[in-house]
Amino acid sequence: MAERPRLRVLLVEDEGGVALLIEDMLEQLGHEVIASVAHLSRAQRAIETATPDLAVLDVNVAGETSFDLARRLASLGIPFLFSTGYGDSGLPADLQDRPVLAKPFTLADLRNAIARTGQASA
């Protein structure tokens, strides 16, 4: 298996417990969590500070969707995937081709989803 690139990851997840899990999983996959935020405003600030290689976005962040943030990432060319408790339905048309992780997910699920962002093989 080829050496996987170490990705600098932005994690947007509003529940601390779950954030901990995903952070651990990302680290287990050899990536670096450069920011883990529970609020969209914080996520916005994180992008402005440093450009991540990948973003893992909870769909519902403290009652708001992360779609606008996702579009912003898309316009910046930053790959991202969604993690959601809603399943893969409910994504707007322009974001439907993005990888979706249905919570709860396994380490393998996360790895595959990252691969599907196109970043893993980059």
Binding site: E15, G17, L21, D24, H39, G85, K103, P104
Partner: protein, 726 residues
């Protein structure tokens, strides 16, 4: 023959010779015109009267004139007659006499006279024609008279024959002597079939003709004596005979009868009588009251029905006028109407009024009043037809009240209801319809629906003429199962289910439609809410499972053994479940902080005195409730394992306040006392990480966690905006 001596007689002159020899005075003495021609026709003698009649005087001795001294001669019918062809010429040449012949003499001046001519040839003893004598006289006046008589006669004949009135003459014994064209035409006989028969043969009624003949024979005239004659075709002609008799010398000669055919007149009269009879019968049999009133309004003629309607006898009614029988409240109006009709302002009118019967009952009448005018257009009398409409009015009133009640009922119904005519124009709407539409529809102008704008359930605009109501009207059937969205002028959109149903009259003809619009906003909202709830539940379950997954993995990572794992994991899961319970009780809207705290601490504080807790009531939002549950659980587990709750002497105080100001926040103090000596943990455990995450990261708060010697002290500050709904 030789001349021989003659006797006196022999020697007597012939008539011719005597006349020639006579003195002129002899001819002049003859009363009338006279002239003499010789054997060859030459004029030899004539008198002055002849000159007068001829209008000329022939030259004496001149032998130029033969046969006649006139200028010209004509026959009576006007054809020219040459002198050599005249009767005098015949007398001289042939010896013929002429008696009372008539010729026309034309004078040189052109005037003509008719002459009566008498000619005799004159012979000698031996019979030889010696000449002729002509005596003539002017009979022009006589002729003119005769022509006049003839003309008069002809006129009379013409009058008789061509008179438009039938005429016949009957002899003494009753035989028809003459009959004119009109009479023959009247009965259809030819003259041969009629004339010569007895007049009685043609009469239908024998006594009548006997009486007629008797009267006439007595000299009584008949003046328009009615009789019936039988025509040839068998039909009976009604005639009036005017006749008188002709008597000569006191003796009855014949009768002259004028026969006037009055059959048609009789038929017209009969028809009119029939019509009158029928009218009278109708008048009496009519169920409507009929009256004739004079110009003062007084009843002149009334039928039984009218008396019945007014509840009075005919005598009573005839003593009253139309105002007197009118209800006092209606009198002024009625009087004014009748006045206008009488003076011609109204040719007729129809009105409703009331009357009071003598027994006090009030009757509603419908009156149709019209005028009968004379030829000059002046008012003669009024004809009034009256109908008792009391019952009809009562029914109408009842129907009106029903309709009113129905409208009130419809108005009171909580469902939006409106009706339209067959063209879809709004004819009625209730209050609920106004509330649903958010506007007041315009009656008779708005079409198809009371709403302002319509949309299909998917949000595309629905033109009003394609709405379910329009379909129901167009296809004449109820439309069910549809849904639409109404937009009110204020922008609010209301989903509804319409129930358009056609309305038909007794004959099944479409007269409109009724529609009920059922507002399904509540249902739609409930459905939406339910979907949100299910989505939310799914999200929550999945997130919870993710949290459990995280807790399990983290607990495994830090557990000293399986037992430690079981205890810690169980505590964490149970606390999470308690928080869920609290939130579920409030439909995942909120959880009160004090109860949440109680549920977390309860398992570790069997005796309540070890716990001091207090602070203002605060409803936490679900996120904050779960985060704080996890924080408090970690603190409690730690206290139970290593801190104040691990020894009986330990106490725990959890207090909180709500700071006010520009940045209001929940400030909570967790203070443990009386527990074992506490040392700072050698490495940051999962619990600490989790607490930090929940407060600082998730709730954007501040955490001050100290492991002091006296016990753990934790100070938490979380913005109220993040932990409550406010």
């Amino acid at each position: 023959m030789s001349s021989v001596p003659t006797s006196f007689a022999d020697r007597a002159l012939s008539e011719y010779d005597a006349l020639v020899a006579a003195a002129p005075s002899v001819l002049e003495a003859i009363p009338g015109a006279v002239y003499l021609c010789d054997a060859e026709g030459w004029l030899v003698r004539w008198n002055a009267e002849a000159v007068t009649l001829w209008g000329r005087d022939p030259e004496p001795g001149d032998r130029k004139e033969r046969f006649c001294g006139s200028h010209k001669l004509r026959l009576v019918d006007g054809t020219p007659l040459a002198h050599q062809d005249c009767p005098m010429a015949d007398a001289v040449r042939l010896g013929s006499s002429t008696r009372n012949a008539e010729v026309v003499i034309e004078r040189p001046d052109g005037s003509r006279i008719t002459a009566l001519v008498n000619i005799r040839p004159l012979r000698d003893r031996d019979g030889r024609i010696q000449g002729a004598i002509n005596c003539f006289q002017d009979i022009s006046a006589h002729k003119a008279l005769q022509a006049d008589i003839l003309r008069k006669n002809a006129d009379l004949e013409d009058f008789f024959e061509n008179s438009a009135v039938g005429l016949h003459i009957v002899s003494k014994d009753g035989t028809i002597l003459r009959a004119n064209r009109a009479e023959l035409d009247l009965l259809g006989y030819t003259a041969e079939e009629y004339i010569g028969r007895h007049i009685a043969d043609f009469h239908v009624d024998r006594p009548v003709i006997d009486d007629i003949l008797h009267r006439l024979s007595c000299g009584d005239g008949l003046d328009r004596y009615p009789a019936r004659l039988r025509a040839k075709d068998g039909s009976i002609r009604h005639v009036q005979i005017t006749s008188n008799s002709r008597f000569e010398d006191g003796a009855f000669v014949n009768t002259r009868c004028f026969t006037l055919d009055v059959t048609d007149l009789n038929q017209a009269l009969e028809a009119r009588r029939e019509s009158d009879r029928r009218l009278a019968a109708t008048y009496e049999a009519a169920s409507a009251g009929i009256a004739e009133v004079d110009e003062t309004g007084r009843y002149v003629r009334v039928n039984d029905a009218l008396c019945a309607i007014l509840g009075r006898s005919r005598e009573e009614v005839l003593a009253l006028d139309l105002i007197a029988v009118t209800h006092p409240d209606d009198r002024a109006e009625e009087a004014e109407r009748y006045r206008r009709q009488r003076c011609g302002e109204l040719p007729a009118y129809r009105a409703e009024k009331r009357t009071i019967r003598p027994d006090g009952t009030i009757v509603s009448l419908e009156v149709s009043s019209s005028s009968v005018l004379d030829e000059a257009g002046r008012f003669r009398y009024g004809v009034r037809v009256m109908q008792d409409v009391t019952e009809r009015k009562r029914m109408q009133e009842q129907i009106r009240r029903h309709a009113e009640r129905l409208h009130e009922l419809l108005d009171a119904l909580p469902a939006a209801i409106y009706t339209t005519d067959a063209d879809g124009r709004i004819t009625f709407y209730n209050r609920a319809a106004v509330e649903l539409a958010g506007r007041e529809p315009e009656l008779g102008s708005d079409q198809w629906c009371v709403t302002w704008k319509l949309y299909w359930p998917d949000g595309t605009p629905m033109p009003h003429d394609q709405c379910p109501m329009a379909t129901a009207l167009r296809e004449n059937r109820p439309v069910r199962g549809g849904e639409a969205i109404a937009e009110r002028p204020d922008g609010r959109r209301i989903p509804f289910v319409p129930y358009p149903t056609p309305l038909r009259d007794e004959d099944g003809k479409l007269i409109g439609a009724i529609n009920m619009l059922v507002d399904i906003s509540d249902r739609k909202e409930a459905e939406a809410r339910q979907k949100v709830l299910i989505d939310e539940l799914n999200h929550r379950v999945k997130n919870t499972l993710a949290t459990v997954q995280s807790l399990a993995l983290q607990t495994v990572k830090h557990a000293t053994d399986l037992r430690d794992f079981a205890t810690t994991f169980e505590a964490r899961i149970v606390a999470l479940a308690r928080a869920h319970d609290l939130l579920t009780k409030r439909s995942w809207m909120s959880a009160p902080l004090d109860m949440l705290l109680h549920d977390v601490i309860a398992p570790y504080s069997q005796r309540g005195e070890r716990l001091q807790a207090g602070g203002p009531a605060l409803e936490l939002n679900p996120r904050a409730a779960l985060s704080l549950t996890m924080v408090l659980t970690e603190l409690a587990t730690n206290a139970a394992k290593y801190g104040a709750l691990s020894v009986p002497s330990g106490t725990l105080s959890v207090t909180w306040t709500l700071s006010s100001g520009s940045d209001p926040a929940l400030e909570m103090d967790w203070i443990e006392r009386g527990g074992p000596q506490v040392g700072a943990p050698t490495r940051r455990g999962f619990g600490t990480r989790l607490i930090q995450r929940c407060i600082e990261r998730d709730l954007d708060g501040e955490l001050d966690l100290r492991f002091e010697a006296q016990g753990v002290r934790c100070r938490i500050r979380v913005p109220l905006s993040l932990c409550t709904h406010g």
